[in-house]
């Protein structure tokens, strides 16, 4: 133990004696970041003073710490990629990067991390970008406190805010992403943590998973995106305490689940979305302690969904609680609170004595003929809904909440 400490101290002292600092400013001996990197030795620190640096294709090929003082501007002049990191142990901190080039054949990014380990990217401000932070085939990195503001209008000619591709164990926290295609996009990336981010007003998704397993995202806010979060073809994703708000439009969802297995969805809030959660081909998912409030559809089940459990959720004032497009059901609904429940509780145990049927006949009709939505809340619809409730024909007759709660659940 003592020897170990001694060893580390020696190593540290060796480093600190070797590591030097290089300052970059317009009037200094070193006036460009690229030349500073070329001059630097491993583990040096480069300070970039305030000013505008018109540079692109900056390649960081050794372990360096690059720190901007008072947000120096790095202007790529729309010529292509700006910073590319190809070495391990690189830290980039406090830069203002603008004008990334747009290309239809290459994914130019403001900052790209390639085959690297232990990188830290923090306190950056990115504007006028194509791709923002692009992490490929890298692992054990951190992306903290970045602010990414794009100007995307169409999907085909815009890039993603933070993109991970074949990366592992990356922490993405406290980032703010706006007006890009996908706020945060994970493809083939496992064991990542996405926490406390705000992703709003994006053209496509706030957060997007593709073929990524064992990731956790929690305490994020997704507001007014094309769709809040899309989770596709992934396993064992944990989704805790996120807020999905005001994702409005004809094809908008709070959350879109497609081919997802063994996920946990706990403590999230879905508010004012056209569709709260759209589920397709997803199995063994636990939904617990979620709030579904004022959505058009709280949950839309599109088929091939088996052994999912929905327990102790609040369904509050949604136009439709659950929509099913088949009359086969293998999912469990139990102990939820439904604001549309009209039963009674004679024995006063807090559980309604009559089971609740969350699927209405009208939601089945709307699934078949979408235009009939115009008859929503009509008296005729109330009558046919009532008769279907009494004797189900079109909706799954075993789709029941046998223990509907009388009072809203708080936790």
């Amino acid at each position: 133990m003592k020897n170990q400490i001694l060893f580390f101290i020696t190593i540290f002292m060796a480093w600190s004696s070797i590591a030097q600092t290089i300052t970059v400013c317009k009037t200094c001996a070193v006036s460009t970041i690229q030349s500073a990197i070329t001059q630097a030795k491993d583990f040096d620190t480069i300070f970039v003073k305030k000013g505008t640096y018109k540079e692109h294709n900056i390649v960081v090929d050794k372990p360096l710490t690059i720190i901007g003082e008072k947000y120096p501007v790095i202007d790529g002049e729309l010529k292509g990629e700006i910073i590319t990191i190809i070495s391990d142990n690189v830290t980039v901190d406090g830069l203002f990067i603008i004008n990334v080039g747009t290309s239809y054949t290459e994914d130019y990014a403001a900052i790209r991390v390639k085959n690297s380990k232990n990188f830290v990217i923090q306190n950056l401000v990115l504007e006028k970008l194509f791709f923002g932070i692009y992490i490929e085939k890298s692992r054990d990195g951190k992306v903290y406190h970045n602010k990414i503001i794009g100007d995307a209008v169409e999907e085909y000619n815009s890039g993603n805010g933070i993109q991970l591709w074949y990366s592992k164990n990356v922490e993405i926290e406290h980032n703010f992403v706006q007006h890009v295609r996908d706020g945060i996009y994970l493809e083939f990336s496992d064991d990542c943590l996405i926490k406390n981010n705000v992703s709003t007003l994006n053209v496509r998704y706030g957060l997007h998973f593709m073929f990524s397993n064992d990731d956790v995202y929690q305490d994020n806010l997704f507001e007014k995106n094309g769709a809040g979060v899309a989770v596709m073809f992934s396993k064992r994703i944990k989704m805790y305490s996120n807020i999905f708000k005001e994702n409005w439009g004809t094809a908008s969802y709070g959350m879109l689940l497609k081919e997802i297995n063994d996920a946990e969805i706990i403590g999230n809030t879905f508010e004012d979305n056209t569709i709260g959660i759209n589920i397709e081909g997803s199995n063994r998912i636990t939904y617990k302690h979620n709030d579904f409030k004022n959505n058009g559809w709280a949950i839309k089940v599109k088929g091939a969904c088996y052994t999912n459990t929905f327990t102790e959720n609040n369904f509050l004032y949604n136009s439709f609680d659950i929509a099913y497009n088949s009359n086969v059901n293998d999912n469990i609904f139990d102990k939820n609170y439904w604001s549309n429940y009209t039963g009674y509780d004679l024995d006063k145990n807090g559980v309604g004595d009559v089971p609740y049927r969350p699927v209405k006949l009208f939601s089945y009709i709307v699934n078949r003929t979408p235009e009939t939505i115009i008859l929503l809340r009509s008296m005729f619809i109330d009558i046919i809904d009532f008769s279907e409730k009494v004797s189900p024909v079109f909706t799954p007759d075993n789709l029941l909440d046998n223990n509907p709660l009388i009072k809203r659940i708080t936790w």
């Binding site: 004809t250 056209t274 058009g296 078949r368 115009i374 008296m379």
Partner: protein, 260 residues
């Protein structure tokens, strides 16, 4: 005309039924607010009540008033007064007193509850405006029925049938048409179908404010334009005005050539 309007209005103001109607809405407003504790939720429940009950009461009341005051009308007809002003005066007297009961009956509890500080005030005013429109429309329709039928029983029968048709049966037929022709583009058909029924129209108008998130779930350019912009609001109000104007014109037309 104004004199007859004034007479009808005060005659109704003194009648028991106006008070019953007023008291009913007052009670409804108080109970809803007491149970819901939430203004915007109470507005949704109120919508269901308004689009069903207001037309019913308007129709029944209109027919009843016409038959009850038939003798007085005949007396008036002997005087040198224009026929149209007699009937329009009576019609407006009924419609306005009903609207007043509605607005005051619902308005008072909501105002006491703190409507003016709430964001629900626009939804609520929209509710009252559509309620008033529905009263105007259905009283006018009732007068039309009563003018065309001397037989009281027949008149009442037609009036109730009219209400039943517009409130329930129409939607059933509408739904069947939509499901039957689901292979065809139905955007325009569904919007036109809504326009042709004042109850559906009022419902859509209120839904535009309340359930917009569900309505936007459907992909159709016409729908999107209608629901996504204020265009829908303008068109709906225009159609409601047309729905008032047409029956009123028929009252004038019919009363001119009717034998008494």
């Amino acid at each position: 005309m104004l004199k007859i309007l004034k007479y009808s209005f005060f005659d109704l103001m003194r009648s028991r039924w106006s008070y019953v109607y007023f008291a009913f809405y007052l009670l409804l407003g108080v109970v809803l607010l007491f149970l819901n504790n939430d203004l915007s939720k109470a507005v949704i429940t109120l919508m269901n009540v308004i689009i069903v009950l207001v037309p019913l009461i308007g129709t029944i009341f209109g027919v009843m008033y016409y038959y009850n005051s038939q003798e007085f009308t005949e007396l008036l007809l002997a005087q040198p007064i224009k026929r149209s002003s007699i009937f329009l005066g009576q019609y407006l007297g009924v419609a306005l007193s009903l609207s007043m009961s509605l607005i005051l009956g619902l308005g008072i509890p909501f105002v006491f509850y703190g409507l003016f500080e709430s964001s629900a005030i626009w939804d609520f005013s929209l509710l009252l405006i559509t309620g008033t429109f529905l009263t105007l429309i259905f009283t006018a329709l009732a007068f039309n029925i009563a003018l065309s039928n001397e037989n009281k029983i027949k008149g009442f029968g037609y009036a109730i049938l009219l209400w039943l048709f517009l409130a329930v049966i129409y939607d059933g037929l509408f739904l069947m048409t939509l499901v039957l022709f689901e292979d065809y583009p139905l955007d325009k058909l569904s919007l036109i179908g809504t326009m042709l029924n004042p109850i559906d129209l009022s419902r859509t108008l209120i839904l535009l404010k309340l359930d917009i998130s569900a309505l936007l779930g459907y992909t159709g350019a016409v729908f999107k334009q209608f629901f996504g912009t204020s265009f829908g609001l303008v068109v709906s109000f225009f159609m409601l005005t047309v729905w008032v104007a047409l029956p009123v014109l028929r009252i004038v037309f019919k009363s001119k050539r009717k034998d008494f």
